[in-house]
Symmetry: C2
Subunit: 451 residues, 2 copies
């Protein structure tokens, strides 16, 4: 692992000025933060994008392309001359480069990869070996690592030289390793600044309670740790405690955004990573399977209604009440579902806490069910002047709202217990349940008591 | 503003060890990170919580309580002796203290506040004056501010003294102000470490393109800026560019989590800040109003069905098909809604981009609508052997799915245009539209062509 070669820019606050200093030859890009340059590039036609990137210097091009939308940057890189694409990807932080190679056409990716210099290529290949949902898959390998036997002033000299030579950023933390490359400590620039000059780093910063994660920890758990402890970065190690890389808080923010998007969108059967920029045909492909599942589910509800066709022929007003039952119970369930999915995103649940959460939702569903059922009882009574029908409707509504609360809170927990994504299509299964049971309650009770 | 008095702990990586060093007298808390201490306290009964907090030293108690759940910490502080509560709140980072005072019973809050020493009290009161959804409402005032006329080595001496004297953390950035307290530059510890010792800070770090926000910028926009530029902190200024405070990335992570929770939960009419720990009666109160809106909406759909009661009496099978139309169109709309709400959470839309996004969703709705309508056409044909009915069903389904796509994508944009929260109850209004129009299409077409 090279020491701090292509550091993420998260320490650099006043980026626009800095870039200008570094690059007086291309002021139009030089004044822009990479994230803004990425936005600028995305707004151009592909031919213009290529011309612009060919005119940029490599570090800026690499930083800007790393910040671009996933699909946009792939389109651009596939259109660039291979030699230039290889130079840009070789210049990029290795974690970003590895992500891009995952998205690139495999054959083209291999051709580009072989043009990248060996050290970078090996790092990129190593990173691609990690599961993209794990700490290894989101870490970058550009950590600043020092031998614990150095003194504080030796460390400062090394860092000054590295930074001055390569015009790169110093990371938040400096990691200490022993002679076997085991991670033994961590210190901040502040610690270094305040350390006694002649003191050996291992004396002050050897740390047995250091928080690190192994490469196979889920990225959501990494995000949870960083957000729980208010860290800026967390080291990633192998099973022998050797430092492999670092996950930084800016990556964690991306993870948190992506996970929230994934939960909200997969809940209703949209694609996990769809955006308004996803080609519409791709979105059709992502959503259609779940809409077909939904058709199958609706067919079950329809079958329930079919069983009571005779009842409906005798009392068509039941068809008027059907949507009210289904809609109220569905909404009640979705409220429970939303709260549960967010909670599962934010913390771990043990079994006792899960039961308490379901119990809470059932209580809420029961209370709201009673109040809404009373309103509806009054409403139906006013319209129909039929106390039996009003009572049947209120009872069906109450029962189905409790079912909604129970299903809405239990579905994500059951999914999780089965090792599945708790959000995926949960709203679709919830609605299937509240629809079919709601119709069964309403029409069944009507057949028993009214017809 | 005191210089860096009670810094957030985000720079401190190896917190457990540090705390131990600072506090050998209470090892059981001393070894714990504040976030873990908070979890530990939350798992105790109130009487045990009080006993524990009374035994902790003030800095640890303040840090741990700041990390506790919102409702839990209020319950605890209200139960503590007022003098101790005042001492703890005086010790706490001012932004956390201000948040707590916003939640405390007003009378009790005033009594506690008057026991806090003047400087802290005034800062807390100033922070409480800011809208809690604005940069001012989430910033902390513990920035490290230096005069731009200092030299680099003077600055280092000041920082060493501050840090050593008060045993506090150095923040990521150091802010430079001119004699009129205008923010004129920002530098990192790294910049300071590398600066020429005798050089005046203003020479190297005066920065005209510095990114700062005014106190009234929405907190979502602050989060967006920090996440867009990969910053660790962003300065907050008044209209005269005087530094008021700093929003740090750990606060931004909380904001991102809260906004994602808010969007997902308010979309279906649950409370924005509900968790599984919210007392169930409070949740009933949050959700009931939207369930009542939903009843009113369902009554409209029911009225549409009521208009066609005669048709249903003649052809009860229509009631069998009703849930399929409503359910498919509702799901199609929710897919569009989910993608739009997440996009609005992640970026700003101009009008052209909004139209393109709606157009994209309508295309997807149309394509999926055609495919699903074809399936359903075949299915209904198989079951009923009635080509007219099958065709009416397929057409109603197609029309309603397009309506769903249109409404799902447009509702959040229209809400935003009206200055409302784009997510709030959007799913409820969407369902109202797809239900009532779906029934209108199905039953209306049936009346026209079949009965």
């Amino acid at each position: 692992m090279p020491e701090d070669k292509k550091q993420h820019d998260a320490t650099e606050h006043e980026a626009p000025e800095k870039t200008e200093e570094q690059d007086a030859t291309s002021p139009e890009q030089g004044e822009m933060h990479p994230a803004d340059a990425a936005d600028h590039i995305e707004n151009l036609e592909l031919a213009e994008q290529i011309a612009l990137v060919q005119g940029m210097d490599l570090p800026h091009a690499a930083e800007a392309i790393a910040e671009m939308e996933r699909h946009e940057r792939i389109d651009l890189l596939e259109a660039l001359p291979r030699e230039l694409a290889a130079e840009i990807l070789g210049e990029m932080a290795t974690d970003d480069a590895a992500d891009i190679f995952d998205d690139l056409d495999e054959e083209l990716g291999d051709k580009i990869l072989e043009r990248i210099e060996r050290e970078d290529r090996e790092e990129i290949e190593a990173l691609r070996g990690f599961d993209s949902d794990s700490a290894g898959g989101v870490m970058n390998t550009d950590a600043l690592i020092l031998d614990e036997k150095l003194t504080a002033d030796q460390a400062i000299t090394i860092i000054r030289r590295e930074v001055a030579d390569k015009d790169i950023e110093v990371p938040y933390y400096i990691y200490l390793v022993d002679e076997a490359e085991h991670l033994v400590g961590v210190l901040s620039m502040r610690d270094l600044l305040l350390a006694k000059p002649g003191s050996m780093l291992s004396d002050s910063f050897h740390d047995k309670s250091l928080v690190a994660v192994t490469f196979d920890v889920d990225r959501e758990e990494v995000a949870h740790l960083i957000s729980h402890y208010n860290f800026i970065a967390i080291p990633v190690v192998d099973y022998e405690d050797r430092l492999l890389g670092v996950v930084t808080v800016d990556d964690v923010i991306d993870i948190i955004h992506e996970e929230a998007t994934e939960d909200m969108q997969t809940m209703v059967g949209a694609g996990a990573d769809e955006t308004v920029d996803t080609p519409w045909k791709r979105s059709v492909g992502k959503r259609l399977p779940w809409l077909l599942v939904n058709v199958a589910n609706s067919a079950v509800s329809a079958y329930v209604v079919h069983l009571f066709e005779g009842t409906i022929e005798q009392m068509a007003f039941l068809a008027v009440l059907m949507p009210i039952v289904a809609n109220q119970a569905g909404n009640t369930g979705q409220q429970a579902l939303a709260v549960m999915i967010r909670q599962l995103a934010l913390e771990k649940f043990d079994r006792r806490r899960s039961w308490l959460a379901v119990l809470r939702e059932v209580r809420i569903g029961l209370a709201n069910g009673l109040l809404i059922a009373l309103c509806v009882l009054g409403g139906v009574m006013l319209v129909t002047l039929n106390p039996e029908l009003s009572f049947v409707m209120a009872l069906a509504l109450l029962l189905d709202m409790v079912i909604g609360a129970l299903a809405g809170s239990a579905i994500p927990l059951v999914m999780k217990e089965l090792g599945r994504d708790p959000a995926q299509a949960s709203s679709i299964f919830l609605t299937a349940m509240t629809d079919s049971l709601g119709f069964l309650f309403l029409l069944g009770l009507a057949q028993l008591f009214l017809v």
